[in-house]
């Protein structure tokens, strides 16, 4: 077992990535992810990690370099935020299409405008459908664990897909937390050397990224989608293996005090920990409230979600992104769709919270839970509100 240390989470994410012995790191600094690549460049400069650190001129180049490096069979890592992630957009769907297991930490930040460097989930939501495995960490420990798990998940021969680990900008990246940092020997035992399916190498010539005309594109997309759907099995296996070796349990949907709960708060990311306190307070007052924390966003764990909400009468679904002109936040749309065919389904209310770093406190979760519990049936287009927006 590694040592328990106090460390800023962005630095801890970099340390965790270094423990995975990446061959190539290409990243461009952007708030609030900057400390991740910055610290990795320190680690490489200090000689603690033998990796090619490419100082690229943009995020578009960062993901392109990682994509190319991964094609040669290298283990590649990058990190970004917000506008940087959007600048990667053109390449993001190509990486999973080529089945290359690049790992990326996304320090989630609002997308402009107005210009805003603070935290919400709008950046990853714009990239939701690109084909990456998407994990959400709620704290520093989960960040470290998920970075290491990500390489193992992505590189598995039944997956071969890139993985992003979403950590809330500032609320996680810039916070010092006590973290069990695994040692090198433990990580080496968990994560074997990467054995790529194919490599761009003169001795084993292959073509990656060739043309897919209309008579093959359909089939190619079907195969890509299937790979992501099927990756869930490997994710669950890797999490079981992690629990066995490191003693920390991971589930696609984590339940907190859900026994006998009539109202469930659903969160993704760091706000789950604030919501836990709200649940504790409400339970003290005798209100049957529980909490679900989504850790696996893509592939979406439909089965686990339906099981987790069994018996609940109402869901207070938290979103941290707006789908302008749509049916509510992206998480909400997903959950409602998952429940549509269920014979007995809970009422669902959507609260879009914490946009661009707006603070959401325990009392807010208490209010939202109470409002949800008391709510009547509402039309889908009235089922969401941007919580806390001043009138």
């Amino acid at each position: 077992m590694g040592k328990r240390i106090g460390m800023e989470i962005a630095l801890a994410a970099a340390e965790a990535a270094a423990l995975c012995r990446p061959d190539v790191i290409a990243a461009y600094p952007i708030t609030p992810n900057t400390h991740v690549p910055e610290h990795l460049s320190d680690i490489v400069a200090e000689g603690r990690l033998d990796a090619e650190y490419i100082c690229v001129e943009s995020e578009h180049s960062a993901i392109s370099a990682c994509c190319g490096a991964s094609g040669t069979g290298a283990r590649a890592f990058t990190a970004t935020s917000s506008q940087g992630l959007l600048f990667m957009q053109e390449i993001l769907p190509i990486v999973p299409s080529l089945r290359l297991p690049v790992v990326m930490v996304i320090a989630n930040r609002a997308v402009s405008g107005p210009i805003n460097v603070w935290n919400d989930h709008s950046d990853i939501m714009y990239q939701r459908d690109t084909g990456w495995v998407s994990l959400f960490a709620a704290n520093g420990q989960e960040t470290v664990d998920m970075v290491i798990q990500a390489f193992k998940i992505g590189e598995h021969r039944d997956v071969m897909l890139p993985v992003n680990i979403n950590i809330d900008g500032f609320q996680l990246t810039h916070v010092v937390e006590p973290i069990f940092m695994p040692d090198q020997e433990e990580v080496d035992r968990f994560l074997p050397t990467y054995k790529p399916f194919a490599q761009l190498h003169p001795d084993t010539p292959v073509s990656m990224g060739s043309l897919g005309a209309p008579d093959i594109f359909n089939e190619a997309m079907c195969a890509k989608n299937d790979a992501l759907v099927r990756s869930k099995k490997v994710i669950l296996d890797v999490w079981k293996e992690w629990e066995k070796q490191f003693g920390r349990k991971y589930e696609p949907i984590e339940s907190y005090k859900t026994e006998g709960a009539e109202t469930l708060i659903v969160t993704m990311g760091s706000m789950g920990e604030t919501a836990e306190i709200a649940v504790d307070e409400l339970r003290k007052d005798g209100m049957p409230v529980g909490l679900l924390k989504i850790k696996l966003w893509r592939p979406f764990p439909f089965e686990e979600f339906r099981r987790a909400v069994k018996g609940a009468k109402a869901l207070a679904v938290m979103d941290r992104a707006v789908s302008c002109g749509g049916p509510g936040g992206p998480v909400f749309a997903e959950l409602r769709s998952a429940l549509y065919d269920e014979p007995k389904k809970p009422k669902t209310l959507n609260f879009i919270i914490g946009l661009g770093g707006r603070d959401v406190v325990v009392e807010d979760f208490i209010q939202m839970a109470k409002k949800t519990a008391a709510s009547k049936k509402v039309k889908p287009e009235d089922a969401y509100e941007i919580y806390g927006a001043r009138e």
Binding site: S97, L98, R99, L100, M160, F197, A198, P205, V206, S207, M208, S210, G212, I216, N218, E219, A220, C222, A223, D226, A227
Partner: protein, 97 residues
């Protein structure tokens, strides 16, 4: 793994649509794209080889006498050889002519 010539169903698509066989493009006969074909007038040809060097398809070869010919199985009819040929020894003529 052996790669199929043409995936019938999506399950046959190779991971990442990778082409696992080297030099397989030779089996793609791009000559069918052509609307015009290059015709050499060897009385004007000075055997400089500019057409050979500029052909993006690599389908122009030198014959035994040192003149140049295009392999029409692959020639896409782009006309670059004609454009580059400064003694004007190549003309593009319609396929049907």
């Amino acid at each position: 793994m052996t790669q199929k010539r043409w995936p019938e169903g999506w399950r046959d698509v190779t991971p990442g649509c990778m082409v696992l066989e080297a030099g397989s493009a030779v089996e793609y006969h791009t000559g069918s794209w052509r609307a015009k074909k290059p015709i050499w007038d060897n009385s004007k040809c000075i055997k400089c080889g500019v057409c050979y060097m500029f052909c993006p398809e690599g389908c122009i070869t030198e014959d035994q006498e040192g003149f140049f010919v295009a392999n029409l199985e692959y020639c896409k009819g782009c006309g670059i050889c004609t454009h580059e040929c400064w003694p004007k020894a190549i003309v593009m003529v319609n396929e049907e002519d």
